[in-house]
Symmetry: C2
Subunit: 329 residues, 2 copies
């Protein structure tokens, strides 16, 4: 490159006290105002973290090695960085910020690292788990909007582990997707399918994140749950899960996902459901009524929350598309 083209503000003799403003200054050459703001906050917090901990060179190197290992264990079917974000509480935090829920709507929770894009679509009543050792479970749900009207044609992604607590992608010898499916709600907003009763399981803990949990004396278990993801134009993307009440890990989920509104009691099909859905009367039954929020309602609430939060922090920003950027006026 031609050094005469360098447009960087001159900087030399950087110290503990002036490094941050200089890194922010050089990064502000970025034309993307949102990226500029995110980077400014990132650099400020990263440097304050080092200054407040008086981070040593040895600790710095330990940290970089850890981050390297987290990256290196990732594969197409293992995302250790999502796990790291999950166990540090960042995932649930970001979901709460980006997908605020007005009262009465279904709350969101962590995506986790096991969603894939290869699930097959099944029709109403289909079977989404082929595990013969799982306890059969009939699942009957409705989807409504916040006004109580059924929502038709929602694409629903559903995934759960097998009876040993492993997702399909965790089996090296798997033949194809299992324990996962895609469905569409009918004109009554109903979708129903056959699955197996969820079991508690540990998140993968043979890697760097597992080692970290061990050092912190934290267990890697998640309470029994089934994941759901809802997608329809005009509605806010909902990533959530249903948790079984009285699971031994109900109040100590390794990834902080449990919310009371998402905890369900399993019932039995009984004569009515048995006849209607062609299962035995003592078949386990899960029912739930999901409530989706419109895109508009969500983006209004997101923008309002952003404004309130940033006002409270006293930061000079403007909110564009619900997200703060530097306010240069």
């Amino acid at each position: 490159m031609d050094p005469s083209q360098v447009k960087v503000p001159p900087m030399k003799n950087l110290t503990v006290d002036n490094i941050t403003e200089n890194v922010i200054r050089i990064n502000s050459l970025c034309e993307d105002e949102r990226m500029k703001y995110v980077l400014e906050r990132l650099v400020s917090h990263l440097h304050d973290f080092a200054r407040e901990t008086r981070l040593s060179s040895a600790e710095w190197m330990t940290g970089l090695k850890f981050l390297t290992e987290v990256g290196q264990i990732c594969t197409d079917v293992r995302q250790e960085y999502i796990l790291l974000s999950d166990v540090l509480g960042l995932s649930i935090l970001v979901d709460s910020i980006d997908h605020p829920k007005p009262a009465g709507s279904t709350e969101g929770t962590v995506l986790g690292p096991f969603h894939t894009h290869e699930a097959e679509e099944i029709t109403q009543g289909g079977l989404m788990s082929s595990d013969p050792k799982g306890e059969p479970l009939l699942v009957v749900c409705t989807i409504k909007d916040t006004a109580g009207n059924p929502v038709e044609g929602v694409k629903i992604d559903i995934w759960e582990t097998d009876s040993t607590g492993h997702y399909d992608v965790q089996h090296a010898d798997r033949a194809g997707p299992d324990g996962r499916c895609i469905m569409r709600s009918d004109k009554e907003g109903v979708f129903w399918f056959n699955a197996i009763t969820p079991v508690p399981y540990p998140i993968p803990h043979d890697g760097p994140v597992g080692k970290l949990l061990k050092k912190l004396h934290r267990h890697p278990y998640r309470p029994s749950h089934m994941h759901f993801m809802f997608e329809k134009t005009g509605y806010d993307h909902l990533i959530t899960a249903l948790y079984l009440r009285n699971d031994p890990f109900e109040t100590s989920d390794a990834v902080f996902g449990v919310k009371d509104s998402l905890v369900v009691d399993l019932g039995k099909a009984g004569p009515k459901y048995a006849a209607k859905y062609n299962v035995s009367e003592d078949q386990a039954l899960l029912t739930y009524d999901f409530v989706l929020v419109s895109d508009t309602e969500t983006s209004d609430l997101r923008a309002k929350n952003s404004k309130d939060a940033l006002d409270k922090l006293g930061r000079k920003v403007k909110i564009v598309n619900g997200l703060p950027i530097p306010d240069l006026d």
Copy 2:
């Protein structure tokens, strides 16, 4: 595991406002007080970063993918996480915190990602670069303590690029270490060797860190420099480098390493050096007098700086071995 053994404080219904205290609470099961403190500050800053930026799910995923890519490009001879730390100004900050320098001693600077542990030891006057295209450079240095006494028997690690601006490890077909060596200072504190005149070069920018710099409109260049690392029992480990004055990138180093006290003018050997060191009179010459600080002096200064910084922040901590930990008294 036996769920009855779970010692985690009960937690459910975590929100934007209470997630941080809960993650800190669960992490405080850790027995290592220093790790507990570092994690507490890490989680606080990570969460505040998300709250202040109102980080979106899409940005979160972009970030995790970036961190994954940074990890995946790392090899035995490429450390992209050090590069990332370098371009974010974290490396120079941590060096400044951990290796404070009293006035009159040689300042430290960034280690960079190209130090290896395979350099061969050479004797006084040895040649550490075999690049025939490099401009020959005679380097004559002394090492003293802060009282002005020569320091004998210091292990010195020296490394530089070839004339194309690449370190040996960046050449896939390299035969062995080149452009790097280990030396020992003699009883006058002197070490001297033959090298090549450093040239400016870009840090590796074909990976995720390079892409980041490009988005920020930052160039990846470092001004011409030669790395030095000094090690002797009783003295603080010194990682530094010497920079050539008037390099086109002197005030825009991509990794913020340049300090005026480390900028040197190259001279010519002239009759005196030519005769003494067996080089031609017009051979380029670099001389420098390094000053090492004792371990005791450094750890006292480090502890004092830590105390001053934490007092200023008003944090309730105690300083143990120069590093803050929670003060529970």
